[in-house]
């Protein structure tokens, strides 16, 4: 059972770190530029061939 406790603690810790990082990023407006990366890859080829 001791292993189970270790597991739970480790899992929760990592999960919390991810959660905090996510909340912080949303609040900080980090996802503002979600437009250009997705679009850039489409233009790439035209640049080269034209």
């Amino acid at each position: 059972m001791s292993a189970m406790v270790v597991l739970l603690c480790a899992s929760l810790l990592v999960a919390l770190i991810f959660l905090f990082a996510f909340i912080w990023s949303v609040k900080d407006g980090q996802y503002d530029d979600e437009f250009s990366p997705a679009h850039k890859i489409l233009f790439e080829e035209k640049d080269n061939q034209n």
Partner: protein, 730 residues
Amino acid sequence: MNTESSKDVNITGNEQILRPGEGLQVETFYYDNKTVRNFAYATLFWGLVGMLAGLWAALCLAWPEVNLGLPATSFGRMRPVHTNAVIFAFVGNAIFCGVYYSLQRLLKARIWSDKLSKIHFWGWQTIILIGALSLWMGFTQGKEYAELEWPLDIAITVIWLIFGANMLGTILHRRVAHLYVAIWFYIGTWVAVAMLHIVNSIALPVSFTKSYSWYAGVQDALVQWWYGHNAVAFFLTTPFLGLMYYFVPKAANRPVYSYRWSIIHFWALIFLYIWAGPHHLLYTALPEWAQSLGTVFSIMLIAPSWGGMLNGLLTLRGAWDRVRDDAILKFFVVALTCYGMATFEGPMLSLKSVNAISHYTDWTIAHVHVGALGWNGFLAFGMLYWLLPRIFNTKLYSQKWANTHFWIGTLGIIFYVIPLYWAAFTQSLMWKQFTDEGTLQYQFMETVNAIQPMYVLRAVGGTLYISGLVLMIVNIYKTIKSGKLIANEKAEAPSLPENYKFKESKGHWHGWIEKRPVQMIFLSLIAVGIGGMVEMIPTFLVKSNIPTIASVKPYTPLELYGRNIYIREGCYTCHSQMIRPFRDEVARYGEYSKAGEFVYDHPFQWGSKRTGPDLAREGGKYPDSWHYNHMLDPTSMTSGSLMPRYPWLFDDKIDKMKTYDMIKAMKKLGVPYAEGYENIANDDVDLQSAKIQKSLAAEKIDVAPNDEIVALIAYLQRLGTDIKAEKSTP
């Protein structure tokens, strides 16, 4: 190495041009399409070989005569050839092909080193070729999807490092600061596969062609399925998701539906996947807590998996009218749909109540083929149809043929999986059926014969799928004939400012990591490493997880020889050695398996499929002569048996010179043989083989004491008997 490879890049030219009025340094460089083409050819070639090996294995199950009574053509050796070839050769080469194509274009840079590309390509093909030959020859570690022996394991590690170096080198010399989502998937894949491969392959060599797994029994099982599941996760899934995030938007000419989803998809997936391995071991002797953990994480995996699938499908918004005509988009749509089905089914199969029915049946085979044929196969086909005409500066020879390929392939998948789902339900329910008197209703053989027609149908499905591939190869051949390879494709891009890292200090938190690939690798390693460590270290350290059983003793040397044969012939591909604590299994096979019974099993041989019955308590069930006749011709003992004949075991001899090294190795692995036993072990070999020889002679069967069949009988008669000794002594 460094200076040489940068020279390679310079050969293709890095002339710096100044755009008038801009002052931006625009560099001209060339994409390497030759390596991409080579990997594409290899994908098609090995795909055909691997799928034909699979068809052969399928035919062996439909008509056992197909085994031909020869070692290399028997199911037990053909099946590892098939699985290794389609995973590491077909899918592997498809990954490299797609990564080399997309990475260069996403980063606006030629692949870092031409020399490393060449070593990577030829090294990988050599490993595949030698690997296939060695598996046909019977050199195997006996762990599913990790069968290749230790020298090849080392070669794989070296080539994988070269691939990583080449990828990282390209990332470091890139002209685009932002790392597109596909690249994170490539990096995550690289890190995870390196770790999985090394951890699972740790073994003690006894010769150039033989080694024993460092781990034993329950621990070996946990490590193997942690690896096995993550081979699916990080070799068949994450790299293909990376390819999906590049090629689906490109083919549809639409940006990915949600870039935010893709970020979440990546991080959630690499973190969750690594924990799910134990769901392959539900109801086995693996500690309960580890099973539950595997189940919980498997359920959670639905979220990122379906997020990713929907993200891919929704990328086609506004382009659905094109799906009607465009074969490539059709392939992608079905690939994504199959990904969605497989990743919904996976968590369902991880529920204990479902797993009780599905495990050891053809359900698992159907499940993986939805993924392999649908997701991996169709995504690879779509990608190659899209990319090959482009690098050959031409058009696809026949859109019509590509569409035909799509429909034949889709029918193939349907004909493949539906019969197997049917077979799985039928057989599992038959296994569990009791009569009113409380005895088992069906003999094992009856359950096999009931589903055999399904095996025929499955082979039909496989044949259809392969026909589609053949049509594709012809189409591609005609396509490349009509064009010419642009070996070095010209491109231009401004170089990256030296100080870009500091310029954009106020941005995306994720932007920070995207510009730092080295830190990114570290973080990915930490994320995936935690899962593995938390599951494995306690199992190794906490003794109570594997209660020792006093009566369980190490194998005798002759039994070890027999075990080597059992592993060599791939018996584990059809026979489990793990009785789950169910009423029907205990009634059919005997007392359920205990963790402590496997402490000397290097490697474990629990298996994952019961095409034949479980063998965990085979010892003492039948006389020696039964096994003798059964191995010579299984149908003579069990009418209707699907098992291959093993005539070579009656001619080939064990080499007693190996006893010393074998016992030495086992001792090193912690098996408690007496001090100096390796020197006198051959006396025991002689004693035990003489005993079996005598018991066979009583049945008028004449064998030489060192015949392989004698060793195999010794091993089979030992299986699961130790625990009975404990019961008889009060």
